[in-house]
Symmetry: C2
Subunit: 672 residues, 2 copies
């Protein structure tokens, strides 16, 4: 038959929980916690992993919240630092269709948890019922007595002024004739007092707490510059002191982070020569990723770079320039690494007892021993890796770029990053995993602050649109921050090899605007693009195997473009957000056109990039007037940032012309 309900009102005494019996009865308390709280957002894999935010963000939480019957409900977002016990709370509000929402500001660089508590709101239920009865001309006298009981209970829970005001309302209700009493009951101030003194005894708490990792803003907004500190001193092996000149350049170009390939002693055995030659000639420096020698391993500094004290000075010097130093963390060893003798059980052995070098048949990497995470007791290895990270944190390093994390157990990273960040929440880990998509994602879920991406291999318009709609939107953007690199020492994409300077500018602008965090490997500003061989993505004369000294003022360099780009990013909050790129129509398959804007719409940036390095493209592009609150017939100014030119546009479309030699990209700031 059709639904009818009634409600109980007034106070009730509590009884203890009922002992479980053969019927599997829940406790008395659980029987009364009947609110359903489900489909909570944002969560990753049901709360198995943390969502990522940055200090100062407003966390917007929503959930389906409802219960049996027709009671009015109240719901609260509860949140706290994971390591500190005190819950804070803020009321949630009803949105639509049993969906509720609330938010809180995440003020500290820390791990948080949130949950939701909800309960029936007897006073608001009673009031709604009372009003319906009144409007139907029914006698409210019995209901008024029930309402008075509710207010009396609330007054007993309240203290001070609130208790006094509630008692006063009680007296008013008692004095008033029914019609007047209903007016008293409807006073918003009374409802607010009743909200403030809800009896939470039977509140339902969501059955789990959902983690949020709140990183510092640098985790989301930064420009990285990678260089080899040993380069740049001519024929000589450069030192940390020499490398200060590179810090000046990086700072002048507007970078925030300088990332150094491994700075540890380099092995001698099977050291690689120029262009990855099987053996090095005397004096060749070897690959910095062949870590460890007689001078030490992962906690030592390569003597030719200087001492640990020199490193400390370098870090301090970078800091004075507003730069932080990111180190490479590559869990692998040269045959000369101290671990090889101290911990042979951390390596893979052949039947003849020798240690296996890295291979990807038919390729051999004789200068590198991979580490075995599956020995009898891996815990010593896990502890030592944790010690290494802590060691460098002790030397001022707050950012680690992790080499090939996808070849080590995901749970190891989850443990390592959680432990490090619990002690040092400011530490940032970038995952260098160029592998299958689900592994890249689970590494981010497991804790990596930032991730390398497929950006380098996304060069066509539709593939860029699809990829960035994937990685900058939920669910992926809840845990994954793509750090975009147009090149690395390992990857010189064909687009750059063939497209030259226009391609270098276009890819740099894409990297710096499609994500809020991007980086480049030095030489990019000189448009270095000679591959090791046709079809190879390796550089010819790769800096991985030799010292390089460059003429930073060489003709055709794009230093000005990069400097301007990083400046535009710093001036425009819209470019400092990760989840806000939106692609709009551009009437040319080679022109990518997208907008980024702040939530408040007080900073609105549009980017046009010509993806074809060989030809000019000009086309009409859409401007989402509705989203921006712009009238169809009113002009607005578009201020192009590289050229400082002002244009007046009007209506829902504009026109862009992108000529590769002059400039394959434009960035417009819209002024109303």
């Amino acid at each position: 038959m059709k639904a009818q309900v009634s409600r109980r009102v007034g106070s009730r005494r509590r009884v203890g929980g009922t002992a479980p019996d053969g019927l599997g009865l829940p406790s008395t308390a659980q029987m009364k916690q009947t609110v359903i709280i489900e489909n909570v957002a944002p969560v990753v894999d049901g709360g198995r992993y943390a969502v990522k935010r940055e200090v100062g963000d407003r966390l917007e939480v929503s959930a389906d919240i409802f219960k049996e019957g027709h009671d009015a409900l109240a719901a609260f977002l509860k949140y706290r630092r994971a390591d500190v016990g005190e819950w804070q709370e803020t009321p949630m509000h009803f949105v639509d269709n049993d969906r509720w929402a609330g938010d809180c500001v995440l003020e500290e660089n820390a791990r948080y948890v949130f949950t939701i508590e909800a309960l029936p709101h007897p006073f608001r239920s009673w009031l709604a019922d009372l009003v319906k009865r009144h409007e139907a001309g029914m006698d409210p006298s019995s209901e008024l007595i029930e309402g008075a009981a509710l207010i009396r209970d609330a007054a007993a829970r309240a203290r001070g002024e609130d208790a006094r005001r509630l008692t006063e309302y009680l007296a008013q209700l008692a004095r008033a004739a029914p019609a007047a009493a209903i007016e008293v009951a409807r006073e918003p101030a009374l409802a607010a007092l009743m909200d403030a003194h809800l009896d939470r005894t039977d509140a339902t708490r969501c059955d789990r707490e959902f983690p949020v990792i709140v990183d510092r803003v640098r985790a989301r907004f930064a420009a990285w510059y990678e260089f080899f500190p040993r380069s740049g001193a001519g024929d000589r092996h450069g030192t940390f002191t020499d490398a200060e000149a590179q810090l000046d350049r990086a700072a002048a170009m507007g970078f925030d982070v300088v990332y150094l390939p491994p700075v540890h002693p380099i092995g001698r055995a099977y050291r690689k020569g120029r262009n990855n030659a099987l053996s090095a000639e005397p004096g060749e420096p070897g690959s910095p990723w062949a870590i460890g020698g007689p001078e030490g391993g992962h906690d030592a500094v390569h003597p030719e770079l200087g001492t640990l004290a020199d490193f400390d000075r370098f870090v301090a010097s970078a800091g004075r320039r507003g730069l932080e130093v990111a180190l490479d963390f590559a869990i692998q060893c040269s045959p000369d690494h101290p671990y090889v003798h101290e911990h042979p059980e951390w390596f893979f052995h052949r039947p003849d007892g020798t240690i296996k070098y890295a291979e990807n048949p038919p390729k051999k990497y004789q200068d590198v021993y991979p580490v075995d995470f599956f020995g009898e007791d891996p815990s010593a290895l896990w502890r030592e890796m944790r010690r290494l990270v802590e060691f460098w944190i002790g030397h001022g390093v707050k950012t680690f770029r992790v080499d090939n994390p996808h070849t080590k157990p995901v749970r190891f990273w989850e443990w390592l990053i959680r432990g490090v960040q619990d002690a040092h929440p400011e530490v940032i880990f970038l995952a260098e995993a160029f592998t299958r998509p689900k592994m890249m994602k689970v590494l981010a879920k497991a804790g990596f602050t930032q991730s390398y991406t497929y950006f380098t291999w996304r060069n066509e318009k539709t593939e860029l649109v699809d990829y960035f709609n994937e990685i900058t939107k939920p669910p992926v953007s809840q845990y994954f921050r793509g750090n975009l690199w147009p090149n690395t020492p390992d990857i010189l994409h064909e687009t750059l090899q063939k497209g030259g300077r226009p391609a270098f500018i276009a890819r740099m602008v894409l990297a710096a605007t499609l994500s809020s965090v991007w980086g480049m490997y030095s030489g990019y500003e000189l448009c270095e693009n000679e591959p090791f061989a046709p079809g190879s993505e390796e550089y010819r004369n790769s800096e991985k195997y030799e010292l390089k000294t460059r003429d930073w003022n060489a003709p055709g360099n794009i230093v000005d473009w990069i400097t301007r780009m990083n400046g535009i990013r710093r001036a425009h909050p819209a470019l400092q957000e990760y989840t806000n790129p939106v692609f709009y129509r551009a009437d040319d398959p080679h022109v990518l056109w997208y907008g980024k804007m702040t939530e408040s719409r007080d900073d609105i940036v549009f980017v046009a990039v010509n993806l074809d390095p060989f030809g000019e493209h000009a086309c009409s592009v859409d401007v989402p007037l509705g989203e921006l609150g712009l009238a169809e017939d009113r002009p607005y100014a578009m201020h192009e940032q590289f050229t400082d030119a002002w244009y007046e546009w009007r209506g829902p479309s504009g026109y862009v012309a992108l000529a590769p030699p002059r400039g394959p990209a434009q960035i417009f700031v819209l002024h109303r």
Copy 2:
């Protein structure tokens, strides 16, 4: 740098787990369980609730399964009855992009759980590596020794013939020259033996078990007929014995389940009269939902229907006709119910101590007291409700239609249904919740076998398509089985009121084909469609408040249509599935055209329904030749089931003509 990996091979001894320390290290065993198993399907809310299947179904399970590095993997679907300890398992296979799939047949009417176990497969990894080396011309001798060690370990784990054959392979490998040895290593029979004797020590088990409730097939495929057993005996109050005539009719029309409104004593206080009059005239029977009188409550039979023994005979009599009896379970009481005196604490009280009747202001239901689930200790109430269900199970009832479950706590139902089905897995619960969508869904998740739906209020083409694409497809179809009713004693929709006989036929065909489970309330076959008042969905002279005796042979009845419809359903397995309706294009906004087919495509049914009761509609409709494996140019036969007419169609579209007076619906069985 670019990824390189190596592998450890051969056996290793186990060491005990490492005690946790300040670093939060997992145990040694956990450190080695490094396979990621995520995004498991099918699951409901991450495994919080069970997915629903029926006896004999093949459960298809898939998951993302991968680990660090490049090892070959093996994965197994493990499943068991939830109440019986022994796991069974079946291998999963790689699909694509780290997705794996496997399946098992659910043979028993029981609750199951499944999980997934996965691990690296050293032999297959080794073999892939060996082949690569061989093809690159590298020396395989060290690898052959490693492979022999793997085979030796497997031989030690194996017994009998398998052990003998593995030992023989070892000997062959030892004898062969390297090139010949590689051929031996590649023999599929060897790989199969190695598959069968994998070392599971370090296997990763998915971190939870996912429940599956396997109902009997009736839960999915059934036709229900609702009637009042007190009706049909003329002016006299009918008895269970009288009602046997109704069983004959129900069976003749091809129904499977007869559902009776409450059969318990009816209260006298505030008994409702004809057309819901505030008080009954002497001799009026009252509403069966006003449960309980001096003769007893929910565990008694209304004396005018007969005795409990009469009821038992009625159930047995139904069984002989292939019918089962579904009872109404309405947790509410008349003021005369024994509970009112025995358990006043189960009701809501006014300040003056009187018990509150049900209200939905301004509507009053003085003949019904709702039950309070929030008294001091609700456990006695919960137990008593469980006892009632068990009581009727003891009298042969296996199906309960639950009245207004959304006004009682969801967790109560979850507890009740779980407990009942653990003891009596054959029991089916139908939720009569016409309320907000999320509550309807959570009741299904919490355990209701079937659910009433919004079908009655979905009358236009696009709203039917949208609604059935929602409720018959995942995620909803994983837990929700919509039981479709064109009418109920409470709901006479405007479409029927105005559309008359053509609407009755069309809505019946829709109900019986859009879902595999449907029902109707008696009188529908006579196209009874007089509303209580204009704009009301209540019947005039509703059987809820009076006895009715009908002329079942009245002109215009649609008994033949219904009988034929249920016969077509029984003859066609495609109509017995719930998740398989697919909507295709029909070139008329009033014509709904959809197909249902078995997974093997050996039964293919198309349905055309004219949704306009007032006019003929004819149009072209699409046939998905590709899905059906039909050639574009070959004819196929369409056998119309109501008229037994055969049509030859050819190509990807056909033509249907639906004239309301003759027949607003057609059902075609496609023969190749």
